[in-house]
Amino acid sequence: MGGSAWARAAALPVVTAVVGLSAAPAFAAADPPVAQASATAASISVAGSGSGTGTYAVTNDGSGQTASGSNEPALTALAGQRALRLGTLAQDATTSVSNGTGTAAACSGLAGNGATVVSVGEGRCLTGGQTLDLSVGSLDFSKVQVVQSDLFQGMDNQLQDLFQGPQSALTQNLASVLKAALDSLGDPGLHLDLGAVQSQCTAKGRTATGTSNIADAVLWTEIPGYGRLDLVALPVDPAPNTHVVTNARSVADKVFAALQTQFTDALQGAADLSLATDQIQPIVDEALDQLSSQLGPLEDNVLDAVLNEQTRGDGSIKVTALDLHVLPAAKQFVGTDAVQLTVGTSSCGPNGRVASRTVPTKNPPAKNPPARAPEHVPTVVTAGYRDASDADGPVTPGRVALFGLVLLGAAGSGLIAYRRTRR
């Protein structure tokens, strides 16, 4: 063997190591971490401008876990809003690696004041606590107003137009009375009570699961003169991707009823109008008919909510306990997009495996046609002996040596015999 051959032999492992090291980052970039998870307690946005608790994320490369963000979110993180002032937030995530397989877990959510944060991986993040009252109608983000008094904005002008035709003293007084009644309605308000809203997920290997829990959650409105009206009670353990549909017609009906009462009371109390009862009803009906188009959006979109929203990938899952869009039709009132409130977003996976240098796990690609299968298969395998005497033994070196000795002895004997013969 020449020197070049020796050089090649020596160079082979070096080249292999260099190529392996240079290729390693490329493979690492293509593969997911051994385990990864993230959690976001809450975020809220209005017209694309929002705030939130941020995301706590962890990854595990097989040798240890690294984290980013905070797993101790504070309510002050939800800046610029007055809807949520008391309560407990939770967002936490963790990973582990066992036998080369990654496991990830996360949970997140919020609950009323007094709730207790428990460790991730034990199921729910939050226990106990008082019920929160998210007064969505009181949101105050920069210059944005949602519903509030704008709901009835412009209606008074419609009423003025309705009764100004004849320009009589009666109709002008009528319009003034109805406008005063409209103004007294004020803000109907829209409220969301929340006991605890949270999601959790786990991903082990390539299997990911997730759930959400929503406790004591009711969306309600308050109409002056009528009090509280529960619009929808959210289910405690909603099925994945439960779309909440409010009985929006009831909201509009209640507003209509309130207007009717207010108008009727105002007209009956207006002594200078001197209207008989049977004269009042047609006026109220005509006024409400004129206002019906103004209240139309209430029937269309009071609330658009998805509970336990789950998005699945290959070995991963993202669970959002509550994704709430409040009054998308608000744009028609205040010229901005809807409010979005997202509570309890937990993501787990996808996970990879700890890389094995010696034993890859996948089979090489198919390349040969199948052979014809035999008709019978073994049902008995008699692969045992009591001792070596039951079978043929191996051709061992000892046997070879023994045979050699015998042969040598035979040859020696023959040589001695030959010499004796020659004497």
């Binding site: 019978h376 049902t379 395998v381 045992g384 043929d392």
Partner: protein
């Protein structure tokens, strides 16, 4: 120098040459760089079975099915490849290899139960070495083995995995169970590459 002395010196020289040459060939055989690579290795009849996890290496010889009974070679240090099963390297079917357990020791598969999942098993053919990774090591009673024969030995299924079988549970007169090792193929090395 007499004729006899010259003959002796010549013989001595020949022997010295042969010894040096043998040593040189032995060294070359170990250190010579391989011409093989990880490219396709065609399926082939197995010649050698290596189980590092069981500290076992055994010659493989083809065996036939007798009825529905599969008997390893009588030489208990060898193992038998069922000729009706897939050749190592095939993409379909299952490669079935069996060897004897000898109660008093020395059988080719006496240590089969020492294999553990994820350990490597190699099967050498004329053109290369197929590498397998152990997936499971199970002890099955003879009845259970018979019940699962199609799954374990059927050739209409499988993707070329390796099935190793021997006997266990010696009761003083007979073996009551079989050890079955299943392993999937993960690589192949062309001839000589394994030793490079």
């Amino acid at each position: 120098m007499s004729e006899q002395s010259r003959t002796g010196a010549a013989a001595n020289g020949v022997w010295t040459t042969l010894v040096v040459l043998a040593l040189a060939l032995a060294v070359a055989g170990v250190a010579w760089p391989s011409n093989g690579d990880d490219a396709d290795v065609p399926p082939g009849a197995p010649l050698m079975l290596r189980m590092p996890g069981a500290h076992t290496k055994a010659k493989v010889v083809p065996i036939e099915l007798e009825g529905t009974s599969l008997d390893p070679p009588r030489n208990y240090t060898e193992v038998g490849w069922w000729r009706g099963s897939a050749k190592p390297g095939a993409d379909h079917g299952q490669t079935v290899i069996t060897g004897h357990t000898v109660h008093t020791g020395g059988g080719s598969m006496n240590r089969l139960d020492r294999l553990q999942p994820q350990q490597e098993v190699d099967v050498v053919t004329r053109l290369g070495t197929f590498q397998y990774q152990v997936d499971s090591v199970d002890v099955l009673s003879r009845d259970r083995l018979a019940a699962q024969a199609r799954r374990l030995f059927g050739q209409g299924r499988g993707d070329g995995r390796l099935v190793l079988v021997t006997c266990t549970d010696w009761n003083g007169h007979d073996y009551e169970s079989n050890i079955v090792v299943l392993a999937h193929r993960y690589g192949a090395l062309a001839r000589h590459a394994k030793n490079a």
